[in-house]
């Protein structure tokens, strides 16, 4: 069985794997690739048995019976046999541990700063993501600033990361870390007032500098407004601002979301939840189920290595499997208006997918490979019908 170097350390290793990939093992990007497997989940509502999809120029071009016969004949086929293929996971707003570069300490209100300026394509944390199934992420200014700035959609890559969309969401924060005792605002009152004043100015007309212009543009619908808020009182304040200025927020953290659930539903807010852990109380583990029942869009955030287990724990606490997979893929893409780019394997989206020996929400299923833009960046090559863990695969189906 062919193998690639799945883990890259430092900057020399990527070049080795990159060269190996291009020259020896993978088909050229110019060449069409057809990927086949026993089960292909294009999106949670489009599942193909004995499915296939065609990748052209790093994007999904056709799937299932839509694949033209001629194109299929000419394409290189990568067969994953009895495996299950799902879209790659999308990691919601994160600084990837780079607060040093994504939290402008001199000022609390910096909505016009762009996370993209601090994006390091060679960052080690980025290279680790494919092993956890993350194929794209929303690099976001830190919640340490009341208005952090504009986030970007980026992807890990074969060697270095790439920018998929340069400007995505506006990141605001009312969390404890944003209320800094060394500079104003030091209190939640002050933090809310800072945002209220800025939104008021943004709504009033054309005044203010580039920072106010960013808020004005976001209020006009140019981008989603994301507010980091954990506690009841922070969430209530975030929802107050959303109601006063007429936007539908994405609330990140939302630890005490159940306390404001009726308002979240009424104001069509969406949530990015903290990772679930097995030792948590049942009420916390049940939160995703409650949100799904209430029709609140949500996804899992926080650490990449806890994404899959969060979804599994949510399923164990009652969440529908489809909804759980959606929370890892389609929902985060949709919340940030990136669903035409990532989050599913529909035609036009990047060919970002994961190969498992069985249902990815079954922890006995092994993670076989990760592809980003049609290139394998982690795991085992295809054309190896024998799954990584045959016993688990058999059990999963």
């Amino acid at each position: 069985m062919e193998r690639l170097l799945p883990v890259r350390a430092g900057r020399a290793a990527p070049f080795v794997s990159f060269a190996a990939c291009l020259c020896l093992l993978s088909p050229s990007r110019a060449q069409d690739i057809v990927v086949t497997a026993k089960k292909v989940v294009l999106a949670t509502d489009a599942v193909l048995a004995d499915g296939a999809f065609l990748i052209r120029q790093g994007k999904v071009a056709f799937a299932g019976t839509d694949i033209p016969t001629e194109a299929r004949k000419k394409a290189t086929v990568i067969d994953y046999g009895d495996a299950v293929i799902v879209p790659g996971f999308v990691l919601p707003p994160t600084t990837l541990g780079r607060d040093r570069d994504l939290a402008e300490a001199s000022l609390p209100f910096t909505p016009d700063l762009r996370a993209i300026e601090a994006f390091d394509p060679w960052q080690e944390e980025l290279a680790k993501l494919p092993a956890f199934g993350v194929t794209s992420l929303l690099l976001s200014p830190s919640p340490r600033n009341i208005a952090g700035g504009i986030g970007a959609l980026v992807k890990p890559g074969q060697d270095n990361g790439v920018v998929a969309t340069a400007e995505v969401h506006l990141a605001l924060s009312l969390t404890q870390v944003a209320r800094n005792p060394e500079r104003p605002p030091t209190s939640l009152m002050g933090a809310v007032d800072m945002l209220r004043s800025a939104f008021t100015m943004a709504k009033a007309g054309t005044g203010g500098g580039p920072d106010v212009a960013v808020l004005r543009s976001a209020l006009g619908g140019s981008r989603r407004i994301v507010i980091h808020a954990d506690l009841h009182v922070e969430l209530a304040a975030a929802l107050d601002l959303a109601r006063e200025f007429g936007f539908e927020p994405v609330l990140v953290g939302a630890r005490e979301a159940e306390k404001v659930l009726p308002r979240i539903v009424a104001q069509k807010a969406a949530l990015v939840l903290e990772p679930l852990r097995p030792e948590q109380r049942q009420a916390q583990l049940r939160l995703p189920t409650l949100l799904a029942e209430a029709g609140v869009p949500f996804c899992f955030g926080g650490r990449a290595d806890q994404l899959r287990t969060s979804a599994v724990l949510a399923v164990r606490a009652g969440l529908d499997r489809k909804a759980a997979l959606q929370a890892l893929t389609r929902t985060p893409a949709q919340l940030f208006d990136q669903h035409t780019v990532v989050g599913s394997l529909r035609a036009g989206c990047g060919a970002d997918f994961l190969v498992f020996t069985g249902d990815p929400l079954d922890l006995t299923s092994a993670h076989v490979a990760t592809f980003i833009d049609g290139v394998r960046v982690f795991g085992e090559a295809g054309n190896a019908p024998k799954p990584h863990n045959a016993a688990a695969a058999a059990g999963a189906r």
Binding site: R179, E182, R183, P184, S187, M189, D193, S197, H232, A236
Partner: protein, 407 residues
């Protein structure tokens, strides 16, 4: 005790329809607030409102649930006109000394234990103000003590503007956090003189803005100046926290200088400046009359609380209410009224000072503060006379909902 808040919410929802059905509390001693007591009275509530109140012959609607309250006393829900709630770090914005436009409502946490404690003590409405670490702290609000959404608990949104005299606003204005002189904490005021300077400058600027905008195109919006202007125009109540004699005099002097009216809050040394209070026709929110010292961050202000102050205020005809305030030695609100009675205040005046009087002062008396037809069904069933030391609040109702067992 419910373990999960969500269950609490669910229970509230389950109980809500019960409010629509009328309930009659009969054979109780009713102390309606601002009215004479009613022996063997009947209180009928339904739909969250008081439907009827009167003597034993008061008609009870057909189908109403009847609760026999023989031996018990029913009062309006208590109103605490100065109540400390929530996290003090979030109620004091240290970024500036003068923050008139900041709203305490933005940081109010309905789950904070202070609300549960207040409910258990029969308090159904409270006036919450920003903390006392700023010279001008911001806008206070009046809320009921039970709810899940702070906005839904509001009785009056912009109820007051808090101004603080004394040492508290200047206490932390030194580079005390290991920082240098460039720290945000190294600034004026560091003295009582500096505190007054900040107030004077703020109102001077507001007055200048008022004069400038008369007939002229409006200046750039300044929310802080707008709030101060409302105080100067008499549209918003100023509440000045002042404990010691010198601070009380200063508070009255600045108010007179700029021509605004202010309520004096805490006012432990009111007994020293009683003539000035009479002359200024000011109202006093007396903080914790039971306390013998001022404990906490204002302990160094030199105030000298006296038990007789509350009776002195009554005897001199100075309008006053009794509050728990910010003194760490304060007791439950009803116990503070009890101490006032022990020191010579009549029971009726004492009860009015924690029900209808603060409701009037805060402008919420159309909704709560007394038991009258059409008002919110905010009331407390006490095991016996509420001013009896052995009395306990057996059930507390807000908008007709019994709230002691919830959350």
């Amino acid at each position: 005790m419910l373990r999960f808040p969500l269950l609490g919410i669910t229970l509230v929802c389950a109980l809500l329809p019960a409010q629509d059905k009328a309930t009659a509390y009969k054979n109780a001693r009713l102390l309606p607030g601002g009215q004479p007591p009613i022996e063997n009275g009947v209180l009928v509530v339904g739909g969250g409102k008081v439907l009827a109140i009167g003597g034993a012959d008061t008609a009870i609607p057909a189908g109403a649930a009847v609760v026999d309250c023989a031996g018990k006393t029913i009062t309006p829900g208590l109103v605490d006109a100065s109540f400390r709630a929530s996290n003090s770090a979030d109620m004091n914005e240290n970024g500036d000394e003068v923050t008139p436009h900041l709203r305490v409502l933005d940081t109010l946490d309905p789950d904070h234990r202070s609300f549960a404690r207040a409910r258990a003590a029969g308090v159904t409405a409270v006036h919450v103000m920003p903390g006392s670490r700023n010279v001008i702290g911001g806008l206070g609000c009046v809320v009921k003590t039970f709810g899940t959404d702070p906005r839904a608990m509001v009785l009056k949104e912009d109820a007051s503007l808090r101004i603080t005299m004394g040492s508290e606003p200047s206490q932390e204005n030194r580079p005390i956090r290991g920082g240098g002189v460039d720290s945000i904490y190294y600034r004026r005021p560091t003295t009582r003189m500096g505190v007054v300077w900040e107030v004077r400058r703020a109102f001077f600027d507001a007055k200048a803005a008022m004069e400038q905008t008369a007939g002229a195109p409006p200046a750039a919006p300044n929310p802080g100046i707008e709030v101060l202007t409302r105080v100067l125009k008499g549209q918003l109540t100023a509440v000045t926290t002042a404990r010691s004699e010198q601070d009380l005099r200063t508070a009255l002097r600045i108010a007179a200088e700029f021509g605004y009216r202010t309520i004096l809050e805490e006012a432990q040394d009111a007994h020293v400046v009683i003539d000035e209070l009479v002359a200024a026709k000011t109202t006093v929110m007396l903080g914790a009359p039971s306390a013998t010292v001022v404990a906490g961050s204002a302990g160094g202000d030199g105030a000298d609380p006296r038990s007789a102050t509350v009776r002195l205020l009554a005897d001199r005809g100075i309008p006053f209410v009794i509050t728990t305030g910010s003194n760490l030695q304060s007791l439950d609100l009803v116990r503070e009224a009890m101490f006032a009675v022990r020191n010579g205040l009549s029971a009726t005046r004492a009860l009015d000072a924690i029900t209808i009087e603060p409701a009037r002062l805060l402008g919420i008396d159309q909704r709560t503060g007394s038991l009258a037809v059409g008002k919110d069904a905010d009331f407390v069933v006490w095991s016996t006379d509420p001013l009896d030391p052995a009395s306990v609040a057996e059930s507390v109702h807000i908008d007709g909902l019994s709230v002691l067992a919830l959350r």
